[in-house]
C-alpha cells in the first residue's frame, strides 16, 4: 500500500515540477490539472470515495476556470534572466525548504506510520454513528451532524467567494 501511494506521489511531484517550469502557460495549467486528477487516484487508494468524487469534479471546474483565463492570452511566459531580486528570493525559498524538510523528517520519526493511526475523537463517530446520526455514510454523518457548524461556515465561504468575484469583476469601481 505504502509503495503504490509513494509511486503516485512521486509522479505528482514530477507533474508539479513541470507545471512550475513549463514555458507555455496552458501546458502548465494542464499539468496542474493532471496533479489534481492523480490526487483522485490517491483518494481511492486511501479508501476515501467521497473525496474522490468531490475532487474530480472540483478539479475539472478549476481547470475550466484556469483555461478560460489563460486561453485568450499570449500563452508564452515572458522569460527574463533572474535579476538580483530573483536570486535572493530563490535563495530564501530554497533555504526555507531545506529547514522545513529537515524539521519534518526528524519529527515524523516519533509519529505513527501510515495505516496504524489510532483513534480518539473519531472512535465515537464510528461506534454509534449510524444510530446517532442515522446516516449510513459516516463521512456525511460527520460533515452534516457532528460538525455541521463547520459545513455551514463552509457554505458561507463559498458565498463570500462568489460575492468577492462579483465585486472584483465589476467594470467601474468608483463613481
Amino acid at each position: 500500500m505504502e509503495l503504490s501511494i509513494s509511486i503516485i506521489i512521486g509522479l505528482m511531484i514530477l507533474g508539479a515540477l513541470y507545471a512550475i517550469h513549463a514555458k507555455d502557460l496552458l501546458s502548465s495549467v494542464i499539468a496542474c490539472g493532471i496533479v489534481g486528477y492523480s490526487l483522485v487516484i490517491c483518494f481511492l487508494l486511501l479508501k476515501a470515495p467521497d473525496l474522490a468524487i468531490v475532487q474530480i469534479v472540483v478539479d475539472t471546474i478549476t481547470l475550466i476556470i484556469m483555461v478560460a483565463v489563460v486561453l485568450d492570452s499570449s500563452r508564452e511566459e515572458s522569460y527574463s534572466k533572474l535579476d538580483t531580486k530573483g536570486y535572493i528570493s530563490a535563495a530564501t525559498g530554497i533555504l526555507m525548504i531545506v529547514v522545513l524538510l529537515y524539521f519534518f523528517a526528524i519529527s515524523v520519526q516519533s509519529l505513527d506510520v501510515l495505516g496504524t493511526s489510532s483513534l480518539r475523537m473519531a472512535n465515537y463517530y464510528i461506534e454509534g454513528a449510524a444510530q446517532k446520526t442515522g446516516s449510513a455514510n459516516l463521512v456525511t454523518g460527520v460533515v452534516f451532524d457532528f460538525r455541521g457548524y463547520d459545513t455551514m461556515g463552509e457554505a458561507v465561504v463559498l458565498v463570500t467567494a462568489v460575492l468577492g468575484v462579483l465585486t472584483i469583476l465589476r467594470l467601474k469601481g468608483k463613481k
Partner: protein, 512 residues
Amino acid sequence: MNPLIPLFVIIPLVGAFLIMIIGRFIKEFNKYFASLILFSLALISFYFLFTTRENSFVYKVGGWEPINNIPIGIYMVMDGFTAIVVCIINFIGFLSAFYSISYIKRYTSENYFYALFCLMIAGMNGVVISGDIFNIFVFLEISVISSYALVAFGVEKNELEASFKYQVLGGLASFLILFGIGFLYWKAKTLNIADIKGAFSNGYDKTYYLFVQILILSGFGLKAAIIPFHAWLPDAHSSAPSPISAMLSGVLIKAVGIYVIIRLFFNMFYISEGMSVLITTLGTLSMVIGVFLAIGQWDIKRLLAYHSISQMGYVVMSVGIGMILVSRGVRNEVAALAITGGIFHLINHAAFKGLLFLNAGAIEYSTGTRDLREMGGLAKAMPATSATSFVASLSISGIPPFNGFFSKLIIIIAAVMARFYLLAALAVIVSIITLASFMKFQRYAFYNEDPDKKKNSIKEVPFPMLFSMIILSIVCLLLSILVFPGIRELILTPAIDILMDPSKYSSQIIGM
C-alpha cells in the same frame, strides 16, 4: 449553555444574505440595516463583557455531550478574554459601518460592500468564540476572503495589485495553518483546543512539538503581520476604502492574528522557553522596524499601516515577556502585569488606530488627496476632524491623559520588573519616534498655513462620518479609566486569569 452565544454568528450571516436579496429592490435598505445589525451585536457583546467575569460559557453546538471526557462536537467558548475581543470587533464594526453610510457614496454597488462587511464581521466573531482549531480555520477563511474582496473594492490598479499580493500571502498562511492542524491531529487525534492540551499532557517529542508550534505561529503570524510576514499590510491597508482599512488595522489583525496566537499558545500548547523568546524577539523586531519604516512615509494611510505593525509589536513583545516568565515559572505577578499591558494595549490600539484611519478617510473624502505634502491648514476648514485626529495622535504616541500612555506605561514597567531593560529602553525610544512621526502628520495635515493653497472649497464631512469619529475619540479618553483598580478587576483580570493558569480553561471546557 446560554443561547446568546451563537447569535454572534447567526445575526451577521442572516443579515448579509438579507442585504444581498432585499438590497437589490430597496436601494436605501442595506446602509441602515447593516448598522442596525452591528449595533445589536455591539449591545450583546457589552452584555457578555459584564456577565462573563470569572466563569466561561461553553456552548456545545449540536448538543453532543462528551463521551467519557472526550468532546465530540464543536464547542463555542465565551470567557473573559473572548468577551473583550468580541466587544472590540462589534463596536468598531458598528462605527465603521455607520461611518461608511456617507463614505461609500463614492463607490459603486454598495450592496456588495455591506454584504461582505457583515460576512467579515461574522467570520471574525466565529473565529473568536470557537473552541475548535478547524472551526477557527473555516471562520478565518470567511473573514479573510471577504477582506480580500473589500481591499480590492475600488477596482483600480494599485488596489487589485495589493489585493493579489494579500491573497497570495494569505493563502500561504492558510496552507501553513492547515498543515499545522493536520500535524496536531496526527498526534492528538482530536480537534478541541482544551482536549489537545490534555492529549499532549503525557509527554511529546520535542522537535515535533517545536515544528507544530512554528507552523501555527508562522501561519497566524502572517495574518497578524508580525515582522517577517508584514509585506502585505502596507499595500492592503493603504489601498482599501478607509472604513475597511480601519477594520483591517484596528480589528482583523487582532481578532484573527494576535488573539488566536495568544489563545493557542496559552491554552493549547505547553509554553517552552525557546518559543516564548522567539515570540518576544519577533514582537520587538516588528516594534522597532515598523516605526523606522513609518518615518519616511508621506501617504497618510501607508504611514498609519506601518505604525500598526509597530504597535502590534508592542502587544506581541509584552505578551512574549509574560510567556517567558510563565515558562520559567518565576514571578507570576510580573507575568500577569505584562499580559495585562499587552491586552490593554490591544484594546487601546483598536480604538485610536480605527479613529486615525477614519480621519484619513475624512481628509481624503473632502480634500481628495492622501499625500501630506499637498495638504495644509485643514484645522480651520475641518475643525471636528482635526480635533479628533489630534486626540488620536496624542493617544497613539502615549501622552498622559490618553489611553495609549497607560498601556505603554504598564508594558514598560513589566519589562523593567522582568529585568528586560533593553526591551524597556526600546519601547520608550519607539514611543518617542511615534510621537515625532505623528507630530509631523499633524503639522503637515492640519496646521502649516500655505497661502497659495485653495482652502475655501474644503468643507467638513457629513454627519455619519463625524458621529463615528467623535464617538471613537470619546472612547479613546474613556479607555484610560481601565487602569484604575476598580474597573480593571471587572474587565481585564478575568482575561488574565484564563490565560495565566490554563488548567482553568480546560477544566471548564472538559471538566478534566
